[in-house]
Amino acid sequence: MLSERLQILVSPEQKRRLESEAAAQGTSVGGVIRAAVDARYTRAPRAQRIAAVEAIAAMQAEVPEDPAGLERIMNAGRLAEASRGVDAPRS
């Protein structure tokens, strides 16, 4: 429900960009702003976030204790992909 009025000042350039984006999306300037607010500030409910953390903490992953070892694994994967010159299948 759209019940709250919000009046803001923007620069001429910001107004031009908002109007251009609204035209490109086939919506209004207000629609662009509402979508941006939702995208930037909406979080999952607190209970869902906490449940997700507890699920992570129960995973028992086999991570190298030395952070340098983990960095090597992370970087090695990227180098291997780059050397093949192709993108591996995405999951």
Partner: protein
């Protein structure tokens, strides 16, 4: 205080057997409960996803999706962030680390929580190791 959460913090959170893993999970718990203002970016979470997908570290299946639930909305890697990364004075930092640091700069975040010593340096962003209890306490206060 808002701080940036590096990819390795998310990975270690899934390894609670280790001291580092427990420390990282505690930070993530505080963020989930809104007791701390931790954020991460699309680039950092992509690193986690890449590691999970490759299977080079066992037991990570589902980590990216769960971390996304905790940390969404992610900080965007915008044109401004990318331009800042290109100009960043951090000769020892890799491309993704540059994006993380630039994301901090553009979002006025002064601290990055990470186990990666490669993020230490004179680029104006302070690295806090998850095992540095006093520093972590000050972030969560």
């Amino acid at each position: 205080m808002t701080f940036f959460i590096d990819a390795n913090v998310l990975v270690y959170s899934a390894a609670p057997e280790s001291e580092r893993g427990r420390a990282c999970a505690s930070i993530l718990r505080a963020v989930a409960a809104e007791d701390a203002g931790g954020r991460t970016s699309t680039a950092a979470l992509e690193e986690v996803w890449d590691l999970e997908r490759r299977g080079r570290v066992r037991g990570l299946t589902g980590l990216t999706d769960r971390a996304f639930q905790v940390l969404s909305p992610l900080l965007a890697v915008t044109d401004e962030v990318f331009a800042t990364a290109l100009d960043l004075d951090a000769p020892d930092a890799g491309t993704n680390d540059r994006l993380h640091l630039a994301c901090c700069v553009r979002n006025e975040i002064e601290v990055i929580v990470s186990s990666d010593r490669g993020l230490d340096g004179g680029h104006g962003i302070e690295r806090v190791d998850p095992l540095d209890e006093p520093a972590v306490r000050s972030l969560l206060a």
